[in-house]
């Protein structure tokens, strides 16, 4: 039992990180209706900003703010310079946008070692590396800290999206940009802010996910898990991203420990299998996810 609990706690810790990145995916989806394949690499790049701030003597919280600010600028620039002109020309064809985000994926991944050096950066672990014992299993303080950050983030995002006029504008643009423009919502500014906010969250996710060293592979796998989390929770729900993230984290950990395929155990090697199956099954049987609202099709 305590072993089961132990793996659940480990899963929660990983899930909290996936949830943070999934939040970034959800923000972009809610404001622009896009899936951003470069989200993970943007987060990785912003984490280098955090490292840079910390390396120049800032305390970690201040460095995270620097990273988030850098992320906001980066996201806003990407939206203005790359995404907006392309989506205008694409007229509903998703391929050009996918190509742009894949271009960003490759570019940022290749640029990071060139700009910041190839050697992995050492990074202080946020919230220390102690642990607390609960019911005979130990839970890391950083898991608790990550969960706390997550809870605050969701509350803030929920308040912004649901309770402010600004948030209403963001949602309106995602659901129907043309109508929003007609009723006076500054569509361009909303899209810009959506991308900026999302990239800023990436900096947070990246910082929380660093274990040991920081290099350009930081987000390669978390991105897939975060997509699984956002798919499971529903791409238009912050709460869904969090629940989805935690579920994905716990499910993959438990399956890695206890799952078998025929005579083979799933093990640490095949952790992406549950994530892949989740994405597939949820999209086929319940495309709106656990918490999402179904898309209404108009003829």
């Amino acid at each position: 039992m305590s072993e089961f609990l132990q793996f659940t706690f480990i899963g929660l810790g990983k899930g909290a990180v996936y949830a943070t990145l999934a939040l970034a995916l959800v923000i972009i989806y809610r404001t622009t209706g896009l899936l951003n394949f470069a989200q993970g690499e943007m987060a990785m790049f912003c984490t280098y900003f955090v490292w840079f701030g910390h390396d120049r003597g800032l305390p970690l919280p201040a460095a995270v703010l620097v990273g988030m600010f850098g992320g906001f600028l980066m996201g806003a620039l990407i939206e203005r310079l790359l995404v907006r002109p392309v989506s205008k020309k694409a007229m509903g064809n998703p391929l050009p946008i996918v190509i742009i985000t894949i271009g960003l994926f490759l570019g940022l991944n290749g640029l990071a070692p060139i700009v910041f050096g190839e050697q992995a950066k050492t990074f202080p672990v946020p919230f220390g590396d102690g642990s607390v014992s609960i019911l005979g299993a130990s839970i890391f303080t950083r898991t608790l800290g990550t969960l706390a950050v997550l809870a605050v983030s969701v509350a803030v995002l929920w308040a912004i999206f649901q309770k402010t006029k600004f948030g209403l504008g963001l949602r309106a643009v995602a659901s129907n940009a043309e109508s929003s423009a007609l009723v006076g919502v500054p569509v361009g500014r909303m899209l810009l802010i959506g991308w900026g906010m999302s990239a800023a969250f990436g900096a947070l996710a990246g910082t929380l996910s660093v274990e040991g060293g920081l290099d350009n592979t930081l987000m390669a796998l978390p991105l897939i898990y975060a997509f699984a989390a956002a798919t499971l929770g529903g791409f238009d729900s912050e709460l869904g991203a969090v629940v989805g993230g935690l579920l994905v984290g716990v499910i993959t950990e438990l399956l890695a420990r206890y799952g078998t395929i025929g005579a083979y155990s799933v093990g640490q090697d095949l952790k992406l299998l549950p994530a892949f199956l989740l994405i597939l099954l949820v999209l086929v049987f319940r495309p709106s996810g656990l918490f999402g609202k179904g898309e209404v099709k108009r003829v």
Binding site: L34, L35, F37, L82, P85, V86, K89, A90, M91, N93, P94, L95, P96, I97, V98, I99, I100, I102, G103, L104, F105, L106, G107, L108, N109, G110, L111, P113, I114, E118, A220, L221, I224, F227, A228, T231, Y264, V266, G267, D269, L270, K271, L272, L273, A275, F276, I279, L280, L283, V284, P287
Partner: protein, 374 residues
Amino acid sequence: MSESSTRSSGAYGVLGAAWAVALERLAIGPVWLRKAVAYALLAGVLYWIPTYFASYQVTEYTRIMAFALAALGLNLLTGYTGQISVGHGAFMGVGAYTVAILVTDHGVSHLVAIVIASLLSFVLGVVVGLPALRIKGLYLALVTLALAAMFPQFIKRFSDITGGSSGKEVPRLRPPEGSGLVQDQWIYYLTLVVVVVVFVLVRNLVKSRVGRALIAIRDNETAAETMGVNVTAYKLGVFGVSALIAGLAGGISVLREPFVNAGLFNIDLSITLLVIVVIGGVATIFGPAIGAIIAAELPTVTQDLVAGRFPDFKVDPYRPVFFAGALILLVFAAPGGITGAFKRIGAEGRIQLIQKQMLGRARQVSSGGPDSPP
């Protein structure tokens, strides 16, 4: 994408006019004859390559052909039918591993193994295509991306069959006795034959009723369905065929490089295939081949160019950044890729030429030239 705009634009117009004038000067004989000469020249060059180049270069050209083949399969799905896959590297991996396992552990002959590998890829493609019936656009890209990420893990997990990270050696397919060919030449010609046959088949497919149905699905699914296109069957079928071609490409690449390991068929490979399709030209026949050549040669050429001036500069780390820049630039400047740009240059040129001729005729008429009525 490229069809969206047919208006004249400066750069394309100027280039196009020059191109059209050049073509007009060179245009000797009927169209079919010119085409025949062009294809004969191409065939000659392809035949001559392995007799001229060093062994490692021949092997490199064989590799480019396999990439072109896999990209052709992807283009059928993504370019012609509009279903985005970021996971075709996994199908290549399935093909390669099937051949490696069958040949090495079960003593199956190479060619039979390649046929089985292709069929298996077809079946897998249909299975992955099943959810694609309900999943569209961006979401399909997501599913296939997850598939591509998972494939190396699968290989590692079942390492007692696949060889895992340390890989698997495959016996070579030796050239037949008395052919006079050495190993790299033999594999080059074998690959060339497969690639040419598949290119011709795909070309005929997309020019047929089936091809028009696929394009109709891409452009407007509802309209296609209304016109009587069986969208479900076509989507599943094209997913299967596209995976088959990628699997075939993976299978024949084992002939060239008789070794497989888990790292070879990762996400980067899948992304590279998509990049090749986009650079070469979405929904074109020769696009994948042109894209594969550019993707393989661009880093080498750039290295050679800068090597003289900056001997310390290493191009290799910049390779992904180059591709990223090229991709993003292409989406802006030439959404149809290289092939699309050339087509457009040709079209613009013809328009300019016709305009010029008409203008000339109009001037003649107005100035009372020899043609004008008295």
